[in-house]
Amino acid sequence: MLLRFLHRLMVLVASVAAASVVVFAFMRVLPGDPARVALGINASEQAVAQLREQFGLDRPVLVQYLDWVGGLLTLDPGIEFVSKAAIGPQIADRLQVTLWLVVCAMVLALVLALPVGIWMAVRHRHWDGVVLSALSQVGVAVPAFLAGIVLISVFAVRLGWVPSGGWVVPAEDPVGFLQRLALPVVSLSLVQAAVLARYVRSAVLDVLREDFLRTARAKGLRPVQALVRHGLRNAAVPVVTVLGLQLATLLIGAVVIERVFVIPGLGSLLLDSVAKRELLTVQAVVMVLVVAVLFINFVVDVLYLVIDPRLRTAPR
């Protein structure tokens, strides 16, 4: 068990290292000259050269890479080209906002998807199961930002219950915070819930066909008891896989949702930096998102070990 855990940990470290090479190569080597990108084509050759020297872009690529990785490891990814603002604190600020969105949305999606998915599976031969299943299929097809726009047009524009966007710090104005959190979280989680519910449904359907569930019934467990005591834990493995993938899409989906609701999160920082051509900031934010995705995968793998005893000993 410990061995498998350490193995997964090594895979995580290796993947993060590989991803850092990809991000660095992509953002720094490919375009040739980030200083030129940052200053635009109209900037003088002299200004560009000065910026390159200032940011050490004239050093060998390997040195630059090690310097960058060192900065990441000490949580100091440097300063912006033009504004000279420190990147690290900006990311820390924005990350908090995005985490609120993502965590709340994931929890809400789970709370919705688990019962609905189980219900769809148990009742898959009945009309209500079929209707729910069809609805979830439609839900999967609606992009989160579209759900957000529709929600704004109904609850913010027509009914005026909540502001159509913006952000306040929870400690300063808890009510205003919740009002502004509600719509983006709902629009993110509705779609996620639809996707998750479909996976829960199919995982539970698979488990319902298992022999050991029949054994459980033969022991004298009623169908619901059998499903709860023996079925759900076994259905959890495929669901946890999807949960990891969904959490990753949620993180990326938040980028768009922040734009819809004008929320100053990590996604807004990324998009603003893209617009300002601040490649160093883009690079740092991308790295944060990618590490988050890889870390989620790692947690999922560790969860497998907890859920399914067969994986603890099975050789790879």
């Binding site: 298992e210 022999d211 054994t215 022991k219 005893p309 000993t313």
Partner: protein, 348 residues
């Protein structure tokens, strides 16, 4: 096909642990079991044989009340022990039926590899059935009993084994655990559905022996489903031969195997090398029953076997009546056949 309450005469035999009367099972438009009737007495071991698709497992699942969704059963199934007022089990609700399962009657399935929950320690799976029916006062007592039960099915180091997961056990070991679960509450009836088919030949005999010992120790009734006639001959006293969802022949094992009457039974015995195997050892030399089992619900009217029977005539197009072959304590359904051109001693 609606459940009709048969109240008195069918269950006249007070010694019967299980009495099944006119059991029929079907999907909406496809009948799968027809008028299956038999009884099993205390301490009696009855075999149910037939090819795949003849309705053996369906009979067992109907008795257990575990038919797959979409199948309906009608008729009369009664269990003497621990069922309130010997009611027809086909009429009782799921909640009450669940109280009987695992307690008054239990079942061992064919596939030991998948019959146990892979995410639960085997000891907990055995303990669960006792705690569920409250046959052990506490968790600790149940745990002690688990070790005894595992020891009884000859598992090595039972205390340690109880804490392992199913995937750490071999197929034979897993089937012993399933058997321990089935016997944990000393059921009056044990149903075994091909319990050794999936096991290695070397393990089969020992598991069979454990089954018989467990049942004998409890004076339990047993319904043993198999397509292996050799197993029936060693395990059971009485046999029911099933084809096309009907019982076509029944009787004491010796009599039926030595002198089968129904042409299907004759074919089955000829196709196994139970008898007359001296001259031909290889399996290839065995005669087979011509044709194959039709898909569910596609059996012919009249005698269900007539489409594969060399002796079939026009008379077989009407359902052959049950011909009792001799007196039997378990009633006339326990010894007889349903064939108008029977093999062996004389034609009736």
């Amino acid at each position: 096909m609606t459940a009709r309450p048969v109240e008195t005469e069918a269950v006249a035999d007070e010694h019967a642990v299980l009495s099944v009367d006119n059991l029929s099972v079907g999907a909406r438009h496809t009948p799968l079991l027809h008028d299956v009737s038999f009884t099993i007495g205390r301490g009696e071991r009855v075999g149910l044989i037939g090819e795949s698709g003849s309705g053996k497992s369906l009979t067992a699942l109907a008795v257990m009340g575990l038919l797959p969704e979409g199948l309906q059963a009608s008729g009369d199934v009664r269990l003497s022990a621990r069922t309130p007022a010997r009611r027809n089990l086909l009429g009782v609700g799921e909640r009450e039926m669940a109280r009987v399962r695992g307690d008054g009657m239990s079942m061992v399935f064919q596939e030991p590899m998948t019959a146990l929950n892979p995410t639960m320690r085997v000891g907990d799976q055995v303990a669960e059935v006792m705690l569920l029916h409250r046959t052990q006062p506490s968790r600790a007592a149940a745990r002690r009993r688990v070790v005894e039960l595992l020891e009884k099915v000859d598992l090595p180091d039972p205390a340690h084994l109880a804490r392992s997961y199913p995937h750490e056990l071999s197929g034979g070991q897993r089937q012993r655990v399933v058997l321990a679960i089935a016997l944990a509450n000393d059921p009056a009836l044990l149903i075994c559905d091909e319990p050794t088919t999936a096991l290695d030949v070397t393990v089969q005999a020992t598991v069979l022996d454990l089954v018989v010992r467990g049942v004998e120790a409890r004076h339990a009734a047993m319904l043993f489903i198999t397509h292996d006639l050799g197993v029936v001959a060693t395990v059971c006293e009485r046999v029911l031969v099933m084809y096309g969802g009907r019982i076509v022949e029944a009787g004491p094992v010796q009599e039926v195997f030595a002198d089968p009457r129904h042409r299907y039974t004759q074919g089955l015995i000829g196709a196994s090398d139970l008898t007359g195997a001296e001259g031909r050892r290889g399996r290839a030399a065995l005669p087979t029953i011509p044709g194959s089992v039709p898909p569910a619900g596609r059996f012919p009217e009249g005698c269900v076997f007539r489409t594969r029977c060399a002796h079939a005539t026009q008379r077989c197009e009407t359902l052959p009546p049950w011909v009792p072959r001799g007196p039997h304590p378990a009633g006339e359904t326990a010894y007889g056949h349903a064939c108008v051109h029977p093999a062996g001693g004389g034609t009736t």
